[in-house]
Amino acid sequence: MLTMKYGEALRLAMTEEMERDPNVFICGEEVGQYQGTFRVTQGMLERFGSSRVVDTPISEAAIVGLVTGAAMAGLRPIAEMMTFSFALVAMDQIVNHTAKISYMSGGQVKVPVVIRGPAGTGNQLSAQHSQSLESWYSHIPGLKVVMPATPNDARGLLKSAIRDDNPVIFMEHAGLYGMRGDLNEDPEYLIPFGQAHIMLEGTDVTIVSYSHMVNTCYRAAEQISREQNISCEVIDLRTLVPLDVDTIIKSVRKTHRVVVAHEEAINVGFGAELASRIYELAFDDLDSPIERVAGPDVPMPYAKNLERAAIPHDSDVIAAVKRVVNLV
C-alpha cells in the first residue's frame, strides 16, 4: 500500500502527468527554486527543469493569461495560485477569458488548463488569506470545480483535471496538505469528475459536503452514531461542477433527512444550491427541512476564539443532525 500526505499526492499526480505528457507544465509564484510555498512542487524543478517548472512574477492575471493562451495553442498547463485568495486578482482572466473561450469560439478553441492551489479557512490567517469562494467559480459556466478531501482523491482528481480538455479550478485545502492517507497503487488511477464518494454509509441522515469539511462531517457522524445511535450517510461531492446529483438524491430517498455542510459563508454559499436541487428533485421524500452548516457572513476574524466561531466544527454538524432528526 502506498501511503502519503495530501500535498505529496498532488505532487505525485503532477509528476506522473508531466512524465507522461510533455505538453504539461506548471507555473506560478515560488513553484520552482523556492520549492513551492506549501512544498507541493518540491523537487519538481530539479526533475523537470525551468522550462517546465516556471517561476513567475506576482502577477496573477498574467499567470492565468499565460496558461490560458498556452492551452489555446495546444499545451496543458497547470497554474499554481499561491492561495485562491490571490486568484481574485485574476478574476477577469478566469471568468471572462479562460471560462468562455470555448463557447465564444463556437467550440473551435479548447482551454485545457488547471488552476490549482490552497483554498479554505484556518490558521488565524484572517480576512484576506482565509476564505472559501468555491461558489464564485461554480457559478461560472465553462469552469469545472474540484475540491478533493483525501490524498487518494487529490491524486486521482488532479490527474483527471490535467487530462481534461476544459478549464478546471482545483481547490486544495491548506489544512489538508499534511493529511496522510492510502493511495491506489495504479499510476493510471483516475477519478472521474461528477462521481461523489460515499465516505460513510448510513440510513437516518444524509450529510453532503466536500473538501476539508467532509472530514469534519465524517468525524461528527461517527460521534453521533456512538452517542445517539443516529446513522449518517456522509457524501463527499469531490467535484462541485459537474455535480453528482444522482448520488445525493439516491441517498435522500433512503434517509429523508439532509444536512449540507461547507466552510464558505452561508449567504449564497454552495449549500444553497445543494438544498435547492434537493427540494426540486426530492421534496416529497424529505421528512424535515434541510439544515445548512456553513461559515457565518463575516470576514474571517483573526482572534483565535472568534476564528473558531467563524469556521464550522464537528459540534456544528452534530447540532444540525440533531435538528434535522428533531432531537432538539
Binding site: 516556471v54 492575471a61 499565460l66 498556452a70 495553442a73 499545451l75 469560439s105 478553441v109 479548447k110
Partner: protein, 338 residues
C-alpha cells in the same frame, strides 16, 4: 490631434507590384465590408456592440499578410479588419454579426469575438486589455515547443492603462516570448483622448524603458511604413525569440461603436479633426503610391472596388440567407467534448 506630418512617398515603390495591388485590394475589401454595417445595425439585423475599423486598415493590411500561416493572431473587439486580413471569409464574419450558425463562432460570439482556429486567429476580446495576457501565453507555447512562429496581439491605446497589460508586458519580456504587440493608437479610448487617459503619452518610452521590450512607433496610416517596421519586427522576433512592440498611430473615422453617433462624438472631437485625418486616408495614401509607381491604373481601381463591393454584398447576402443557430446550440461548447 494632428500630430502626424504628411510624409513624402518614397520615389520607387518598395515592394513587388502584384503584392502592392493585392494589399490595396485587401484594404478596399475591409472597408467595403464594414461600410454597410452601421446601416444594417440600424435595421436591427445586427445587435450587441459594433466597433468599426474604418480608417485603421493600413495597420491590418500592412502587417497581417507578412505573417506565416502558422503564426498566431489575437485581437480586441475591433477585430473585423484583422480577421479579413488573415483570410477569414467575410461571409462568415458578417454571418457572425447577424448571429447566424454559419458565422465563424456559430453565432455565439458576435462582432467582438471573431475566431478562426484554422487560421490561428484566436479571437477578439471585449475586455479592454484582457487579450494581452492571453497572447503572452500563446507566445510561451511557441517557445516551449521550440517553434519560430510569432504571436501578434492587437489592442488600443485605452488598454495601456490596464493592470493586466502591464503584468503581461513584464512577463513577455522576462520570459522572452515571441510576441508582436501592436498598439493601435487611434487617439481615443471611447470618448477619452490619449492626453486625458495617459499621464505619459509616449507609449514607446513606457514600454521600452519600463519593460525592456524593443519598441517602435510608426505612421499607421501609411501601409508602406507599417510594412517596413513590421518586417523588421518579425525578423527580430523570429531570430531572437523575444517580444517587440509597435505603436501604430492611426485614426478611426466612425464613432467608437454604433451608439457613438456624430452628435455624441462632438463631446470629444471636432468634425474638422475628422476631416483632417480623412485627408490622410490610408487607402488613398497607398493608392497614390501605387499610382505614382505606375502600378495602379484607374481602371484597376474601378475593378478592385467593384470586386470589393461584390464581396461585401455577397457576405451580406450569405448572412441574410443563413439560418439562426438551432436551439441545441445553446448548450453546446460550454465545455469541450473529450
Amino acid at each position: 490631434m494632428g500630430k502626424l506630418a504628411v510624409r513624402e512617398s518614397s520615389d520607387s515603390f518598395p515592394f513587388d507590384a502584384q503584392e502592392g495591388l493585392s494589399l490595396y485590394r485587401l484594404m478596399r475589401i475591409i472597408r467595403r465590408c464594414e461600410e454597410p454595417l452601421n446601416r444594417i445595425y440600424r435595421e436591427g439585423k445586427i445587435g450587441g456592440y459594433l466597433h468599426l475599423y474604418i480608417g485603421q486598415e493600413a495597420v491590418a493590411a500592412g502587417l497581417i499578410p507578412l505573417l506565416r500561416a502558422d503564426d498566431y493572431i489575437l485581437s480586441a473587439y475591433r477585430d473585423h479588419g484583422h480577421a479579413i486580413a488573415r483570410g477569414v471569409d467575410p461571409k462568415r464574419i458578417v454571418a457572425e454579426l447577424y448571429g447566424r450558425v454559419t458565422g465563424c463562432s456559430r453565432g455565439k460570439g458576435g462582432s467582438m469575438h471573431i475566431y478562426d482556429a484554422d487560421r490561428n486567429f484566436l479571437g477578439g476580446y471585449g475586455i479592454v486589455g484582457g487579450v494581452v495576457p492571453l497572447a503572452v501565453g500563446v507566445g510561451f507555447a511557441i517557445k516551449y515547443r521550440g517553434g519560430d512562429q510569432v504571436c501578434v496581439c492587437f489592442f488600443g491605446d485605452g488598454a495601456m492603462n490596464q493592470g493586466a497589460v502591464h503584468e503581461a508586458l513584464n512577463m513577455a519580456s522576462l520570459f522572452k516570448v515571441p510576441c508582436l504587440f501592436v498598439l493601435e493608437n487611434n487617439g481615443y479610448a471611447m470618448g477619452t483622448a490619449v492626453e486625458r487617459h495617459s499621464a505619459v503619452t509616449d507609449f514607446i518610452q513606457r514600454v521600452s524603458y519600463g519593460y525592456g521590450i524593443a519598441s517602435e512607433r510608426v505612421d499607421g496610416m501609411d501601409l508602406v511604413e507599417v510594412r517596413e517596421v513590421v518586417e523588421r519586427a518579425i525578423a527580430y522576433i523570429r531570430k531572437r525569440t523575444a517580444p517587440y512592440f509597435i505603436e501604430a498611430e492611426c485614426y478611426r473615422y466612425a464613432g467608437h461603436g454604433f451608439s457613438d453617433t456624430a452628435q455624441q462624438q462632438k463631446t470629444y472631437r471636432s468634425d474638422e479633426e475628422i476631416e483632417r485625418w480623412k485627408r490622410r486616408d490610408p487607402i488613398e495614401i497607398f493608392g497614390q503610391r501605387l499610382r505614382d509607381a505606375g502600378i495602379l491604373t484607374s481602371s484597376d481601381e474601378e475593378e478592385i472596388d467593384a470586386e470589393a463591393r461584390r464581396i461585401a454584398d455577397e457576405a451580406i447576402g450569405y448572412a441574410e440567407n443563413s439560418p439562426e443557430p438551432p436551439m441545441d446550440e445553446l448548450y453546446e461548447g460550454v465545455f469541450s467534448e473529450e
